[in-house]
Amino acid sequence: MRPLERVMRTRRALAATIATRAVLGAVATVLLTAAFLTTTLRAFGVATSSVWLVADVAGAVALAILARPWARLTVPRVALWIEERVPALQYALVTAVDPVGTASAAFLEREIDQVSWDREAARAMMRGLRWPALAAVGGLGALLLSVRVRTGSAAEHDRAIPSVIATPARDVSAPFARLAATVRSPAYAGGQVVRVESPASIGALVGSTVILEAPGSGEGVTVDAEDQPIPVQRAGAAWRTAVTVGARPTVIRLRQGSVERLVALEPRPDSVPIVRLLFPTRDTVVRAARGVLRLSAEAHDDIGLATAAFEYIVSSGEGESFKFKSGTLGARRIDAGRDATIGASLGLDQLALKPGDIVHLRAVARDGNNVSGPGAGASETRVLRVARAGEYDSIAVEAAPPSEGDKSAISQRMLIMLTEALEKRRPTLARETLLSESRQIARDETRLRKRVGDIIFQRLGNNPTGEEGRNPDDAPASDSTVPASDSARAALLRAASAATGNRDEILDFEGDETPVVAINRPLLEAYNAMWEAGRELEQGETGRALPPMRRALAAIQRARQAERIYLRGKPPAVVVDLARVRLTGKDHGAANTRLPRRPMDPAAARRAERLAAAIELASRNPAAAIDSIVLLRVESLDAAPQLGAALSDALAAMRSGRDATASLARARRIADGGVRDVGGVGAWSGVW
């Protein structure tokens, strides 16, 4: 390569080095300027929105200055620069590249070819880049440091540790300028202590204790929360007051004279554990309840678990009669860990399950919250059912309705109630009134007795007409003499009497009692007892009627139990004939009044107004506006959490001196319930 070409190559490398140096220098200038200005302006509470503009201007100036040598990179200058670093050339290079001296060019080229200056040139270029590179790195570090600088805040690492937002000391009036807060989380959450200067808002678990203290005697200092005073105590050279974080957000007001300071307390609720049943994974039906069922579950809590276990309930029975037993297994104490896995085995043999039994299984975990809990979380429930023997030849078995006897039971109970009520009123009633009401009950008792008789007749002889079709509203016989004719009814009465042991007559089929009679014995007893009761009621003897009425009821109960037969098949779908039934009820309802519902959020409009007023105040008195927004935020945390969160962003911006316009506008839209875009101007206006 000819010397000129080699010099040109070196020239290009130098140009690149100058450009890189200029860029690094400019970057370093920008970063250092931004870091310096950010730190300085924050310290004086000035808005930092124009920091980058100023830094960019400084960087541009630096770039222009550092790039100046580019213009001086002529060939002779480069050759001279090489000669300075490689004395061996003895100015041969400068001569060789001089356009005038060409006579000894060939000789000089041979001399120059023997010397290499690449290494020296590279070393010199790297030295030139060293300081700008270091400055750029240093600038980046300084900027990162300045961004991370805060005045007295604690970052939130986990829920158990309180988080505190502080106010710069210069913003706080003199009596409370050195207010400090010591926040201790509840013992079950670890009892962590955080201390911070100049607190503005404290978020902590319910049950945490907050001690606010400041230097001074505390004379004239009053502290209250929601208008409830909190005592202030002297502690050496300082005063202090203690508050416990409750379940609702609140604002602590500290006052001395006309100076006021607000500290917001935001409770952080302790969530209940989340539990997942891993095994069994689904509900099961088993033919035979044998073997061991493996159980497995996992639990998680935000603070710490205390106990976990499996719970089961065994249901036995069918129809209207069920028995239950329950228990726990696999119980485990967990030493405040946030996650736990539990396992157990359920021996099905030990549960002594029978066909038709059902086992409900779930996992339950409790946390260690001994302040407002403990919180208990449960998994989904799995069901294990033991199949009934009859299920195998049918896809679905559905219970049929209960037998007809139930109607009698219901009515007899009502009659007893009515009679008891009448007996209670007896001393206050006139004889005529008592007799009239008692006879009404007697008529109902007769009607019911005839129903029971019909059932018995049907079963004994398939005679649906029962007692010869007598009208239940007719006056019954004045005494209990049996009809003279040897009718089925007479036989019925004799059987009833025999069944209740009232007569000495021998039943026709005594000793050879058919199953039908045996089954109907309770109903026969009921029939007889109802007859007795009716007789007493006719005479107005309500007190004497009650024992046979109760005997009748007991007998009917036994009849129900004896005859409970559930047939297979779907019950008939009952479709009500509305046209036939409509407004046929004898009773009528009564007109009544309704109480109005309360508005959903009556305070919403007021919150929107207060926020608008606070925003307007911000331009005139930022500190007062912050206080207003703090109060509004605390009130919104429960009623309007979205607004509370938006106000939190706005307060953070306002306290740190940043532009809060966007966050306040967003909060305002939320408080307004959103701005509803009606669209165009429209052809219909509802405004007068």
Binding site: R598, E609, I615, E616, V678, W688
Partner: protein, 411 residues
């Protein structure tokens, strides 16, 4: 060179004829001068619509014997804004603004920005609270409005049979803050009632909602109420019967079913069935239609307003619509009632307000429309922004040239 030439031309422009004063810049100073030393003809070249005080001053000068004419150095935006209370509980304010000619307009109040239209047009917004005055601003105008009145809201009367629709309609209005009186039929001669029940007139009720034909015996009374200024909503197929048919904005069409499952979609009312409004009256305004069929229409009837609401099972929206459906259902019913309610306005306070709801229209009203200027205008007495820009351009060019020479010389 071009900048220098422009500056020279501006400097040597000949003046207008004597006795005519043309102002481009400092209008307040000119107004004072014209008031002290009147001239025959005053011409104003505006680059933005003047504020009300300036406008009134120009009007006064015109009426004092001089002739005031104006033109504009650039097109002035025609815009308007009005803030008015909506007859709903919770103090809702409706802001309507419009801008003609494609000029961007942004709307704000004392608490900050509210909305904007980048290319002009018209829009109406409803806000929960407005702080101070509402301003609609563009490059060449600022229109201002304030809510100057409060509305007097009386209870709403709901009439119908007991059922989900009556239950949830009453619930929605009450939860929204309305006071509701109701009479709901459960059985013959058995009603569940609430609130002040008396004769149906505008002194007692802001609106009457009729949900079904159980209110038919009161139809004549309701018709009188509507004609006297009351607001009436006829829901479902109510408008078929008796005196209601004469009030309704249209006839009742055959019932249409809603799209199954659509109540939880973005357009929940497509999932509701109802009775469309067919053959709307000449003065009826269709407020809502779907698939070309009107479902809600309203019209003025003498002093009152009557709305025909085809939906008869809006409760399905509240129950089946999603987590926000209850709030949306409440707000929707409240707006329906607000659209017809009798709600007289009561002025708030008696202080002067700085309202300027349509600046350009007010300017034309004050001193007439814009007229192009004849003849040449006098040299500008004051340096305008254009002059400054030209100066900076020339100075920067000179500085750049000098710097370049210096740097070359240093090498």
């Amino acid at each position: 060179m071009a900048a220098i030439a422009t500056l020279l031309w501006r400097a040597i422009r000949p003046p207008v004829a004597a006795g005519v004063d043309v102002v481009h810049g400092d209008l307040p100073r000119a107004l004072v001068q014209w008031t002290v030393s009147p001239v025959a003809e005053m011409r104003v070249v505006l680059d933005a619509t003047p504020d009300p005080a300036t406008r009134d001053w120009l009007r006064a000068l015109g009426r004092a014997g001089g002739s005031v004419r104006w033109s504009s150095s650039r097109p002035l935006g025609a815009a308007a804004v009005v803030a008015e209370p909506v007859p709903e509980p919770n103090g809702v304010t409706r802001v309507r603004f419009a801008s003609v000619g494609g000029e961007a307009v942004s709307v704000a109040d004392d608490a900050g920005a509210i909305d904007s239209l980048p290319r002009g047009g018209a829009r109406a917004l409803e806000l929960g609270a407005v702080a101070g005055a509402v301003r609609a601003s563009g490059t060449t105008f600022t229109a201002t409005s304030e809510v100057r009145d409060s509305v007097v809201l009386r209870p709403v009367l709901v009439l119908g049979a007991a059922g989900w629709e009556s239950k949830f309609t009453i619930a929605a209005l009450e939860e929204r803050g309305w006071r509701v009186a109701s009479r709901v039929r459960v059985a013959p001669n058995v009603d569940v009632t609430q609130g002040p029940l008396g004769s149906i007139d505008t002194a007692r009720y802001a609106a009457v909602i009729v949900l079904d034909s159980t209110a038919a015996p009161s139809s004549n009374e309701i018709a009188r109420y509507a004609r006297a200024g009351g607001g009436v909503i006829l829901a479902g197929s109510t408008a078929r019967s008796g005196a209601f048919a004469a009030l309704a904005p249209g006839r009742v069409g055959a019932r249409v079913a809603g799209v199954a499952g659509a109540v939880s979609s973005a357009d929940p009312r497509t999932g509701l069935g109802g009775f469309p409004v067919s053959s709307p009256a000449a003065n009826a305004v269709v407020l809502e239609a779907r698939d070309g069929v009107a479902m809600i229409a309203a019209r003025r009837l003498d002093a009152g307003r009557v709305m025909q609401l085809g939906y008869d099972e809006t409760w399905r929206w509240r129950m089946g619509g999603g987590d926000e459906s209850a709030a949306a259902h409440r707000a929707w019913w409240s707006r329906l009632v607000a659209a017809v309610a009798y709600a007289p306005l009561v002025p708030r306070g008696s202080g002067l307000t700085s309202v300027d709801e349509a600046p350009l229209a007010s300017l034309v009203d004050a001193i007439g429309p814009s007229t192009p200027m004849e003849g040449r205008t006098s040299p500008p007495r004051d340096i305008t922004r254009l002059d400054w820009m030209l100066f900076i351009l020339i100075a920067a060019s000179l500085l750049t040239e000098w710097t370049s020479r210096r740097l070359r010389g240093a090498r």
